[in-house]
Structures are given as C-alpha cells and as structure tokens.
Symmetry: C2
C-alpha cells in the first residue's frame, strides 16, 4: 500500500513537471510572439492553453483520487494538497501566457508596444521564461536554491513593472491610448505570471524544508 | 464520528460565509472609495484585506485538519477540497477590492476616472457588490438560482469591461495616459472580481447537483 502510494506521489510530481514544461514552452512562444509580432506563434500559444487546462484538470482528479483511496496524513497529505494548489497556479500561468499572446494577435501586424518600451518588455519576457524554466527544474529536483532565484527574478520583474508605469505616465510618453492600454495590460500579465511562480516556489520550499506556514503566522 | 464530521463541515461552510461577508463589505467600501474619492474608506479596505487573508489561511488549516482526521471520501471529500478552492478565490476577490481601493488612494484627491467613464464604473461597482452579496447568500443557502444570477451579472460585467476599452480607444477619448492606465486596471480588477465569483458559484452548483466536472469534459 505504502509503495503504491509513493508511486502515485511520484506520478503527481511527474505530471506537475510536465505541466510546468508546457507552461515554459508557452511563455517562451508568447514572449516571442509579443516581441516579434509573430501571429502564428501567438495562435499556437492560444491553442496550447487548452492542453494546459486539461492536464491541470486531470492532475486534480488524480490528486483527489489519491486523497480518497490512500487517505494520506501529515506530510503526505500536505504534498497532495500542495499539488492541487500548484496545479491551479500553473493553470493561471498558462492563462497569462495566453493573454500576452492575445495582445500580440490583436495588434498584428503592428507591434504591441512602442520602441521606447521594447527593451523593458524584452527583459520582462526573458525573466518570465527564465522563471518558468527554473520552475520546471525546481519541481524536478526540489533544489530550494532555485526557489530563492525565482524570488530574486520576481523582485527584478516588480521593478520593471513599476518602470513601465513611470514611463507611460512620464512627460516624454508619446504613445497613443492603445499603446498605454497594451503596455499596462502586458506589464500586469508578465508580473502576475511571476507572482504565481513565486507562490509555487514557496510551496515547494515549505515541502522540502517542513517549514509550514501555519494559520498563526 | 459521523456527527462530528457533519459538525465540522458546517463549520467550514460557516467560515466560508464569514469570509464572503468580509469580501462583500470590502468591495462595497472599495467601489465607494473609488467612485467618491474617499481615501479613508480606501485605507479601511486596504487594512481589512489582511483580515480576509488570515481568515482564508485559518480555513485552509481547518480543511486540511479535517482531511487528516476524518479521511472523507466521495462527496464529502469533494466538499472539503472545494472549500479549499473557494477560500483561494475569496482571498483573490479581497485582493481585487484592495487593488481598486489602492487606485482611489493613489489618485486622491483626484477622482480615478474621468467623467465620461464614471457611469460605467458606477455600474461595474454596483454589479460587483451585488455579486458579492449573492455569493454570501449562495454559500449560506446553496440556492443554485443565485449561481445562475451571478453568471448573468458576470456577462453584463464582461460587456461593460469591453465597453471601457471601446471608450478608451475611441476617437472621443480625451483622457491623459494616467486616466487610460487607471481605467484599464480598474476595469480589469472589476472583471476579475466577478470571474472569481463565477468560479465559486460553479463549484457550489456542482456540489449541490452532483454534476461534477470530470477530467474528460
């Protein structure tokens, strides 16, 4: 019974890694679609989001099945509940990649953001891709140094996100309203993508160290 | 044992209702702060978000404890897992109310949106408040007609959300970049607030009808 359970936990972990890998491909495609106005890549991301949603739903069903059949307690129970939450966050990361791709598709053949912001969004995109790849590795290896790296990358993303508003609200901003809307939304999507990754990284860190967030903290 | 379990499920439900009631107060305060540039009301919402977060965290701990001690299966297990998810959505709804309040505080003593959009945002705010109150009632009574109403309100919110973009991107828009940014973000927060409510309403509906979303659907 115990061995079956350990095998099932491994399957949960493998599926989380698979979903994270799908998300990593999608954010890579989405940022390229966004930066290069590549509409067919944007459409790939939009189509792939369905696969991420289905994979997350299947993982949830597996996790609930394990809860029902194996009745785990203590740390094992935390692992299964955490898997449900990580799955929800990965699903939202997929949505953010899709939203970024949708902006690219709406504005095609124009670029989504004006020249003065392209460097910022190139960096935001590269950081989101790096975070997604680190997340795949973190879920595979549970090496908590990666969780720290993800948090540091997120700090940089938050700073870039604020810098987008500084630019858009600054006196030198010449963008039309459509540029302002797109920059606002795109920056928010990039920032939320990273927030979800941080939230997953924290959960993996707690699981690895046993340092639980309890109600009183 | 069974009786203890039923008592615990009732406590889970009562706590969900309490958190939803806190969210309803916060979105009411947030929309008033937003529409009337009331900075002290905005600060109340921002301070109250911490209470919502703590209440959601405590409920999660209770739900995980119930899983560990009572080992529920079948429908009972679904109820406890759904409670965890509903709690996460309520926590996010609190965040959206806080974000709306923050916009009001940032722009104080100015109003957040220019005159031409105030009617739209008044309606968005009123719909979010109505949805939050219906959610409290839905969680209390499990009357699934309320779930339908929430979905209908959300359809109207989606239409208003799109109309904000139409206005901001239209030829008559005279707003400065700051107005464009604020309208974009505020509209998105109102829309996300309602999305989370719909997601909760669907879960309550499934629990009430047994009509589960399975992996293959």
């Amino acid at each position: 019974m115990r061995e079956v359970f350990q095998q099932e936990l491994r399957e949960v972990q493998e599926r989380l890694v698979e979903i994270a890998a799908l998300v990593a491909v999608s954010i890579d495609n989405a940022t390229r679609a966004f930066n290069e106005s590549n509409v067919s890549l944007a459409e790939t991301v939009i189509a792939d989001d369905e696969k991420i949603d289905v994979a997350a739903l299947e993982l949830d069903e597996l996790a609930i099945n394990i809860l029902a059949r194996q009745q785990p307690v203590a740390r094992d129970l935390r692992i299964v509940v955490s898997a449900l939450r990580i799955s929800a966050s990965l699903e939202r990361m997929g949505d953010m990649a899709e939203h970024i791709a949708q902006l690219a598709r709406y504005r095609f053949p124009d670029k989504v953001v004006p020249k003065s912001l392209r460097g910022t969004f190139a960096e935001l995109g590269a950081l989101d891709v790096a975070i997604a790849n680190k997340l795949v590795e973190l879920l595979t290896t549970e090496d908590t140094r990666l969780a720290e790296e993800i948090r540091n990358d997120d700090d940089r993303i938050d700073a870039l996100h604020l810098s987008v508003f500084d630019k858009v609200l600054g006196e030198t901003w010449k963008g039309a309203a459509v540029d302002t809307v797109d920059a606002t939304l795109a920056s928010r999507y990039h920032e939320r993508f990273a927030d979800h990754a941080v939230s997953i990284a924290k959960k993996v860190q707690y699981l690895a160290t046993g340092d639980w967030v309890v109600a009183s903290s």
